[in-house]
């Protein structure tokens, strides 16, 4: 029942908001649907915490300690983003960047996107996972191209082509997975694609086929994670879409894609036995982290800056999962959580700052701290948090990743330190003048809702100081599962 609500509310929201259109209460309705989804998710998560992993609807849906926190995180950030988006989109409409029809499209597709992500996270069926990922891609194409400017059309075309090709590779990987599974599990209905069944027999799956399948799956879903060298779509899509969309793309979609890669990794590692999947994750992760940090320096657009920072962080997380072991996996799961919260708050502040400055170019945004203290300090604190300064949660996870790397793969340490150093200098030197430089950012007609920014940053701070035992237990169990 709770599962039906979790999946049903966003899809119902898609339809209802498509009919409501651009009426005055559409934004409030969007918030309402997201809040209802969050409540339903909370019910489902509570049931899982009480009774252990859940298999629902003829085993088609699965909830364990690995996806439960991602589901909650997705619903939560999805909700706070709608709160931020209400005044933001109202101002955009007043500035004439979106008309009534596009606003309708925006609300409707936002709900569809949330529904597709929740479906991808909750399904136990590797084929359905692919279908949901593709649906998430398609709905975000429409969100990225919302402004219908030349640049946004180009960005979403690039997004479609790159992710379309990528996700086709993932489909081939899924076919190979099914092929290997069918030999063991037989063609009885749909069980041969169910992750729990595959996981039970993973030792018997043909290693050569699974090795090949993993290459395709990693390239396919990895494109959506934004792993270099397949990251080209990411900065464009983040920079050209509306700020709330950038926030959910960076904070949620990248996590969901990485989740898909990891579910595959568990199966493949069980079959091959060797550390090949881990090595591949480490290589892709390190390359993305380094490239993301280097490209940070060359950015002039505030949203592109944070998009490259996302590539860097997804690289670090992927690297940590490649390291494997209880500590690195724990740190990577924590990093997924805090990165998602911090990065979405950064896109909120960056979006609002560029909205009031009238430009996304960083040299046009100045003096936020004096003219708009809440906004300026939100941006500054968010940047400090994303750079991994001590009291915040990202410090904890990066510290754990770094110490594990020093112990197990010392050769990687200099690269990691270099990445963190370059990113620190790059982001700090660009954010500092925006916040403390001379100048002023004019106010916009509707007061922004900056509460989500501080709620997110407060949670990141809290997670840096104290991880609740229930969450820690969840991370530990998930870390053991990922191996």
């Amino acid at each position: 029942m709770d599962l039906l609500l979790v999946l049903g509310i966003p899809f119902a929201g898609t339809l209802v908001l498509a009919f409501v259109g651009a009426r005055r209460y559409a934004a409030e309705l969007n918030i309402g649907f997201s809040l209802a989804t969050l409540l339903a998710v909370a019910l489902l998560a509570l049931r899982m915490v009480r009774s252990g992993p859940l298999l629902l609807w003829r085993e088609q849906f699965y909830l364990d300690s690995f996806n439960v926190f991602l589901v909650v995180l997705t619903a939560f950030v999805g909700f706070t983003t709608t709160v931020f988006s209400r005044p933001y989109m109202r101002v955009e409409a007043q500035h004439g960047r979106v008309n009534a029809r596009r606003l309708r499209l925006y609300h409707s597709m936002y709900q569809l996107f949330m529904g597709a992500m929740l479906l991808a996270l909750l399904t136990n069926n590797m084929g359905l996972l692919w279908v949901a990922m593709e649906a998430a891609t398609l709905s975000t194409i429409l969100l990225v191209s919302l402004y219908r400017t030349k640049a946004s059309l180009e960005a979403s075309w690039k997004y479609f082509i790159l992710c379309g090709v990528g996700i086709a590779q993932a489909l081939f990987g899924t076919i190979l997975l099914y092929f290997a599974a069918e030999h063991i599990l037989g063609q009885q209905g749909m069980t041969a694609l169910l992750w729990t069944h595959l996981n039970a027999v993973r030792g018997q799956l043909e290693p050569r086929v699974l090795g090949l399948a993993f290459v395709f799956l990693l390239i396919g879903y990895g494109t959506k994670v934004g792993l270099a060298p397949l990251h080209n779509w990411l900065p464009d899509a983040h920079a050209e879409g509306p700020a709330p969309v950038s926030a959910v793309l960076s904070g949620l979609l990248l996590n969901v894609a990485l989740y898909a890669v990891l579910r595959c990794k568990v199966l493949v590692e069980g079959s091959i036995g060797a550390a090949l999947p881990g090595r591949m994750l480490m290589a892709f992760g390190l390359l993305s982290a380094l490239l993301g940090a280097l490209f940070l320096w060359r950015q002039r657009d505030i949203k592109r800056l944070f998009a490259y920072s996302s590539i860097e962080h997804m690289g670090i997380i992927t690297f940590a999962f490649g390291l494997g072991g209880p500590i690195a996996n724990f740190a990577a799961l924590l990093h997924m959580t805090v990165h998602s919260l911090t990065k979405s708050s950064l896109f909120f502040t960056a979006g609002h700052a560029s909205q009031s400055a009238g430009t996304q170019r960083m040299d046009g945004i100045r003096g936020l701290a004096s003219s708009r203290p809440a906004l300026g300090w939100g941006l500054m604190l968010g940047s400090v948090a994303i750079l991994g300064m001590p009291p915040f949660g990202i410090f904890a996870s990066e510290f754990l990743i770094l110490t594990t790397a020093i112990q197990e793969h010392p050769w990687a340490t200099p690269f990691l330190l270099l990445t963190l150093g370059i990113a620190f200098a790059g982001i700090f030197s660009k954010v500092q003048p925006m916040v403390f430089g001379d100048g002023a950012a004019p106010k916009v007609q509707h007061a922004p809702s900056l509460a989500p920014v501080f709620v997110h940053l407060g949670m990141v701070l809290a997670l840096g100081l104290y991880i609740p035992p229930a969450l820690a237990a969840c991370y530990t169990a998930a870390a053991r599962l990922i191996g």
Binding site: L138, I175, H183, E206
Partner: protein, 221 residues
């Protein structure tokens, strides 16, 4: 027994036809021709799926064959034709650089695909196992078409052809994915084409052309 042999032979013939069409796609300039070729690819997929279903007595495959016929032979080509008519792009053609070189690269891709498919073919037990290499080749050739072409429409046809290759790969290795998944994939494809259809009009409105040369502003600076 003789019957099964004949079916296997016919399937290989159809697979060869599929590969040939992929090569033809690489060398065609006119968008309209490409759509026709795409429809033919769908027709071959339909026939081969029916043959496998008949040969192996699998009822489920008839449904997926019917889905192929409706979606890939009739609906999608019809939508694409209507689109280019409304865009006034039916006589569009694009200059292709160096067809012989493209063909040679295509050949190398086919050899690569066969090498890659070798271990899978050896493990497969389907009557179509020898065509896995061809399926992979079709995927790679469509991929190449997407990379080398500069027209929005051609890239989309490349994308759809790639999905055809994937469908063929699924039938050759495992007699197709479970029905629900196939329906999901078909729905995604259909939605993709609708979205891109809307997209074409916007791209043309903004850039006065469907040529993607104009879409190269977002570079790293």
């Amino acid at each position: 027994m003789h019957d099964a042999d004949l079916i296997a032979q016919l399937l290989r013939l159809l697979a060869a036809g599929l590969l040939l069409i992929s090569f033809a796609m690489l060398s065609r300039r006119r968008t309209q021709r490409l759509i026709t070729l795409y429809a033919w690819q769908g027709a071959i997929l339909f026939l081969s799926t029916c043959l496998v279903a008949y040969g192996e007595g699998l009822r489920e495959l008839y449904y997926s064959a019917a889905l192929t016929l409706i979606l890939k032979v009739i609906l999608l080509p019809w939508i694409l034709h209507r689109l280019i008519h409304r865009l006034g792009a039916q006589w569009d053609s694009e200059p292709l650089v160096n067809i012989p070189a493209t063909m040679l690269v295509g050949l190398v891709l086919v050899i690569f695909a066969f090498g890659l498919a070798q271990p899978i073919s050896m493990l497969a037990t389907t009557i179509t196992r020898h065509t896995i290499g061809i399926a992979l080749a079709v995927i790679l050739l469509s991929f190449m078409m997407m990379i080398t072409r500069r027209k929005a429409m051609t890239q989309v046809i490349g994308f759809l052809a790639m999905e055809n290759g994937l469908f063929f790969a699924a039938t050759s290795t495992t007699y197709g994915m479970p029905m629900v998944i196939e329906l999901g994939i078909a729905l995604d494809m259909l939605v993709a084409v609708f979205i891109l259809g809307i997209f074409f009009f916007q791209i043309r409105e903004q850039f006065d052309s469907l040529d993607l040369h104009h879409l190269e502003k977002l570079r790293e600076d």
